[in-house]
């Protein structure tokens, strides 16, 4: 497990860059982060259009300047309870396979600068899902921040709808 996680970002520039900037946010009360370069923009939450027959973690679609983009509830995606509607909720727009996808998070916290050496491998826990979705963890201001493995969270769009 150790070596597998190691290999995960062996090739990525995360390891080699001196300091990388990450955007941290809360999902179901837990701190997560994504590399800033993976994020296209962060938008205020607005009601989405529900997709018929969509699984619980697919909230629906949103209009992003004329493009129709699917919105995922990260919390539900991680197997936690659905995110409750709140004024502070944000949609983090990321690009997966060249297509924009929105991720619903509770709130955005801050931008943190991380030395790649400080990234710890995810210790093995008894949750298959979590292990796939989390690329590594860091300790920041006394809290544990989880680095999301975007490719594992959002697979090819065609597989979204069951």
């Amino acid at each position: 497990m150790q070596s597998q996680a190691e290999a995960k970002y062996e090739d990525s520039e995360v390891k080699h860059a001196q300091h990388s900037e990450f955007v941290s946010f809360t999902v179901a009360g837990q701190a997560f982060c994504l590399k800033i370069t993976q994020i296209r923009e962060i938008r205020r939450w607005s009601p989405v259009t529900i997709l018929p027959h969509a699984p619980a973690d697919v909230l629906g679609v949103m209009n992003l300047r004329g493009a129709v983009i699917p919105i995922y509830d990260l919390s539900a995606r991680f197997g936690l309870q659905q995110t409750e509607a709140s004024e502070r909720n944000v949609v983090i727009v990321v690009s997966v396979h060249g297509k924009p996808v929105g991720l619903l998070a509770e709130s955005v916290s801050e931008i943190i600068s991380i030395n790649p050496d400080d990234i710890q491998d995810t210790p093995p826990v008894d949750s298959r899902n979590t292990m796939d979705y989390i690329q590594g963890i860091i300790s920041h201001d006394e809290t544990m921040v989880r680095i999301i493995n975007l490719d594992a969270v959002i697979t090819v769009p065609e597989q979204v709808i069951s």
Binding site: I50, L51, P52, V61, V68, Q159, I161
Partner: protein
């Protein structure tokens, strides 16, 4: 890389084949103008040239024969009689087959190929003799035959480079050097234009050269030297030829430089084609210079002659632009909404400006939409061939007359219209037009006439296919429908209802019956194709006079007319084309059937009800609630159902946004659109909603009854 060049060649072929068809159609229509003949010749020649470059031997060989015959026509050594025109038409069909074969693989009909080659050769053989015996006296063009060229001539060339020529890095010295290779060259500098030192503009070009070249080379060789500075210099080439020759040469020169409209067709193209005009069919591989010069001159000319210069653009870029413009319009309406909500006393100026913004945005939208639009001409031209083939196959004579070829329709619509049109036209020849003898007996001309026309009609495109045949045999059609159980025996149908029975899916399944019926082979397929395009089709027939098929299509596929409804608190859009009628329900209309089947009684007919919210997996409609609104829809199979929705808001044009690739294929949903408030609304697909609804299949019997009587 090689693939992309080849792709370009095939794209060009499309245009050339179109030009060829167009020319041949004109010739068939009696227009024997040398320029038309030339246009066809040039098209065939260019295809041959390109095909040669890609080693498409079969295509080259055939194009060569075709071209040679045309050359004979061009030189007035061959009269255009009906037989020859028919051969040329068939050859052009075959040529486009060969091009498609070369592009898509597969094989062509060898026997057909050989027959055509043989037929073409018949014309060539005869005329080759003529050429041998009388190669002269056929107009100036033939002065360029190799024998003549041997003679040494003195050319006076006046060459004045424009400043742009220097700007492109061209150097007169090298041009002169190349000229010197052709013969003996004398160069004199004419500096008369040179202003005084004070007035000298260092960027201007003042120098003019007078050159005298003594050479045995044809003039085209000299022209090709200057080919690369075409348009960048003032050039005149004169020779010591006699006057007639000079006029010729001038015309050729002008043609080459695209400076003036050419007069005599054959005088123009011939100088570039010495090997083809020469009585040596082997000389397919024309000298490089001549080959290089010909397409250039053709390009210059076709640009001049063609109605509009065109630009090839990647469709994706256009789509991106359409998207952005759609967004601009939505953005406008959001802005307008917010300004209207502002609590400010005087907004008049802002509103005026906003109105201007709106008009501008609409203009841009229209402009952008029109980028995708293309004239239906190429499609119609292809149809001429369908009619020819169908006539040949059935032993009837029918002529296709096209109208409104310049009507523009969305590119995708044109592409998808090809199959249904083919079908209708084949049917028109096969079943509509009578046999020549029958026609004569009926007091009509022996040859049938099919009129294919396109026009714009209030925001839609109307395509009409009209034949002057016998019309629909109504008693027979009705009898067949009864026999097939499509309508009840005692059904009382109007004439137009009987005509429209042809579109019923069951009508055409059995071939032997439809052969008897006279009409209707696969007409349901045609209807489906048209409906899939968001259009509708109608037939009107007059016994003994013929039938008219009318296809009404939306201008573009990117925009569609939709009815905005609400379903389970969501706003959704239902395509207008699938809605037959809408009605507000009342208690006495709803009848329960079985456990959860619901039937709606509409003027005595029972139609199954499908709850849209439930079918989409959204909240199930509350049974205790008063019945909402029903949309009566008709599916591709002619089945009628009532879609229950909560409310109808309005009817408007919506911009279609595909959901494939975003969320995959969602049952019941065709696409999405963005409403004025910036929200996304699902565009429903009634067909697949009904397919998902269990109540749908249960009412097959009811469907037939209701369908027959209500249609």
């Amino acid at each position: 890389m090689a693939g992309s060049i080849q792709d370009t060649f095939f794209e060009e072929c499309e245009e050339l084949l179109e030009a060829m068809d167009e020319g041949l159609t004109a010739i068939e229509g009696g227009d024997h103008d040398p320029e038309v003949v030339n246009a066809v010749f040039r098209a065939v020649h260019s295809i041959k040239g390109g095909a040669g470059a890609f080693g498409l031997d079969e295509l080259v060989a055939f194009a060569h024969k075709f071209e040679t015959v045309f050359d004979e026509v061009r030189a007035n050594r061959l009269g255009l009689d009906t037989k020859l025109i028919q051969l040329l038409l068939r050859s052009s069909d075959h040529l486009s087959d060969l091009v498609s074969t070369a592009r898509d693989g597969g094989s062509t009909d060898e026997a057909h190929h050989d027959v055509l080659i043989a037929a073409l050769e018949e014309y060539i053989d005869e005329d080759e003799e003529e050429v041998v015996f009388q190669p002269m006296g056929l107009g100036g063009a033939f002065e360029m035959s190799p024998i003549e060229v041997e003679k040494e001539r003195v050319y006076s060339i006046r060459f004045h480079p424009l400043k742009d020529m220097y700007g492109t890095g061209n150097e007169p010295y090298f041009l002169f050097q190349t000229l010197a290779d052709l013969g003996t060259l004398e160069v004199t500098l004419d500096e008369s234009e040179l202003p005084g030192f004070d007035a000298l503009d260092t960027d201007e070009s003042y120098l003019i050269w007078a050159l005298t070249l003594t050479t045995t080379e044809p003039k085209s060789a000299i022209e090709s030297v200057f080919e690369f500075v075409e348009g960048l210099c003032e050039l005149s080439i004169e020779s010591d030829m006699d006057e007639e020759d000079e006029a010729n040469a001038l015309a050729a020169l002008e043609a080459a430089f695209g400076a003036a409209p050419e007069e005599g067709g054959d005088q123009v193209a011939a100088p570039f084609e010495p090997p083809v005009s020469a009585p040596e069919p082997e000389a397919v591989a024309a000298p490089v210079a001549a080959k290089a010069a010909a397409p250039k001159a053709e390009a210059a000319k076709s640009e001049q002659r063609g109605p509009n210069p065109t630009l090839r653009v990647d469709l994706e870029r256009v789509d991106r632009l359409i998207n952005a413009v759609g967004e601009l319009i939505i953005n406008h309406s959001m802005l307008a909404q917010q300004i209207a909500n502002l609590d400010v006393a005087d907004l008049r100026d802002v509103e005026t400006e906003l109105e201007g913004f709106k008009n501008l945005a609409r203009d841009i939208q229209e402009g952008v939409m029109s980028i995708r639009a293309q004239p239906v001409k190429p499609l119609f031209q292809r149809m001429a061939r369908i009619v020819r083939e169908a006539s040949a196959a059935t032993g009837k004579t029918a002529k296709l007359i096209t109208e409104g070829e310049n009507t523009e329709v969305d590119k995708t619509v044109i592409e998808r219209l090809s199959d249904p049109l083919t079908h209708i036209l084949r049917n028109a020849v096969d079943h509509g037009v009578e046999k020549p003898d029958d026609r004569e007996a009926a007091g009509k001309s022996r040859s049938g006439e099919i009129r294919l026309s396109a026009s714009h009609r209030s925001g839609s495109v109307c395509i009409e296919i009209k034949d002057d045949g016998a019309g629909v045999n109504r008693p027979r059609v009705k009898q067949i429908a009864i026999d097939k159980g499509l309508i009840p025996e005692n059904a009382d149908l109007t004439d137009s209802e009987i005509d429209n029975l042809l579109f019923l899916p069951g009508f055409s399944t059995a071939k032997e019956i439809s052969n008897l019926s006279g009409r209707g082979v696969g007409m349901d397929v045609v209807k489906n194709a048209v409906t899939a395009l968001g259009g509708r089709i109608n037939i009107a027939s007059t016994p003994g006079k013929g039938s008219v098929f009318t296809i009404i299509l939306p201008l573009t596929l990117a925009v569609m007319d939709g009815m905005v409804v609400s379903v389970a608190d969501q706003t959704m859009v239902v395509p207008i084309t699938s809605i037959v009628e809408t009605m507000r329900g009342s208690d006495d209309m709803v009848n329960n059937l079985g456990a959860d089947g619901t039937l709606l009684s509409i003027r005595g007919n029972f139609v199954p009800v499908c709850d849209v919210g439930g079918a989409l997996g959204l909240s199930k409609a509350d049974q205790d609630q008063p019945p909402g609104v029903y949309l009566l829809v008709e599916t591709e199979t002619g089945q009628r159902s009532a879609l229950a929705v909560d409310d109808i808001h309005d009817q408007r044009q919506v911009v279609i946004k595909s959901l494939d690739g975003v969320c995959g294929n969602i049952p019941g949903v065709a696409a999405a659109t963005i409403l004025g408030d910036g929200k996304i609304a699902m565009i429903l697909d009634p067909e697949s909603i009904l397919a998902a609804s269990p109540s749908a299949a249960a009412f097959d019997t009811e469907r037939r009854i209701s369908n027959a009587i209500a249609s």
